[in-house]
Symmetry: C2
Subunit: 122 residues, 2 copies
DNA sequence: TAGTTGTTCTGTGCCAACTAGAACAAGCAG
DNA sequence: CTGCTTGTTCTAGTTGGCACAGAACAACTA
């Protein structure tokens, strides 16, 4: 349960949290049913504001990653029997290909973003 | 040479331009030597500010995508003989895998972002 | 009942993004 | 050389997102 926040990053703090929790959940590091730290506790340990953590939690709820209930906290949702192995393999392959050509991270992300957007528009 | 800008997008205007030009250049739609529209002309046609276009051009210059010179404009740089086919294939594979599992675009991007960051940190 | 935890509200400060206008310097074409 | 084009640099103002802060409230747990 160790999340790391970089206050000097250009990436918004809440976005960093969202990305880390989502990746951990998708990778299985946070199995369905896992209870995330209470917003106030996490805010204190990360030395950021309560509202920033809550914002991240609400984004994750909107994405269906976690479930929020008062008194119980944020719990990782059980998502079907979907096997994410193909996606993880594809990601690994892409990173390897980009690295082999010395492609900048920004450029690689741009290509994926574009492909996803084009896909979306159909 | 038709770039499209969505003023209502959460993505910054200059970033949209950067992504589109970069993708076009990487895909070969903008062959090395191609001259981009003058900043003032492009700003007028996209109905955005001159400085916003210039900012995008400068980011592209920093990434080595284009070359800027006064009086001549922005020209697409000739970058070696690198064949980007493997990367494009990898991107296509990833998008297909993500789509097959109904993975949200944000989640897919998050996985790639994380993988690139992890790669970067070594 | 008492404590925990998410929800909602108000307000403040900061900074990136965008816009606007202007002057300047390097290159191109006549 | 002259005039035009084009990127570079500067100042300045507006807007909106992000983060922070404090408080009260509602639902759930033990």
């Amino acid at each position: 349960m160790l999340f790391r926040i970089d206050p000097s990053s250009v990436e918004p703090l809440f976005q960093q949290l969202v990305d880390q929790v989502r990746v951990a959940a998708l990778r299985g590091d946070l199995p369905p049913g896992t209870r995330l730290p209470a917003a106030r506790a996490l805010a204190a340990s990360l030395e950021i504001n309560l509202h920033t953590v809550l914002h991240a939690y609400q984004v994750l709820r909107d994405e269906g990653v976690v479930e929020l209930r008062r008194g119980r906290g944020a719990v990782v949702v059980d998502r079907g029997t979907a096997d994410l192995a193909p996606v993880h393999d594809a990601v690994a392959g892409l990173v390897a290909a980009a690295r082999a050509l010395g492609l900048a991270p920004g450029a690689t992300l741009g290509l994926v973003k574009d492909a996803l957007a084009t896909e979306e528009a159909r």
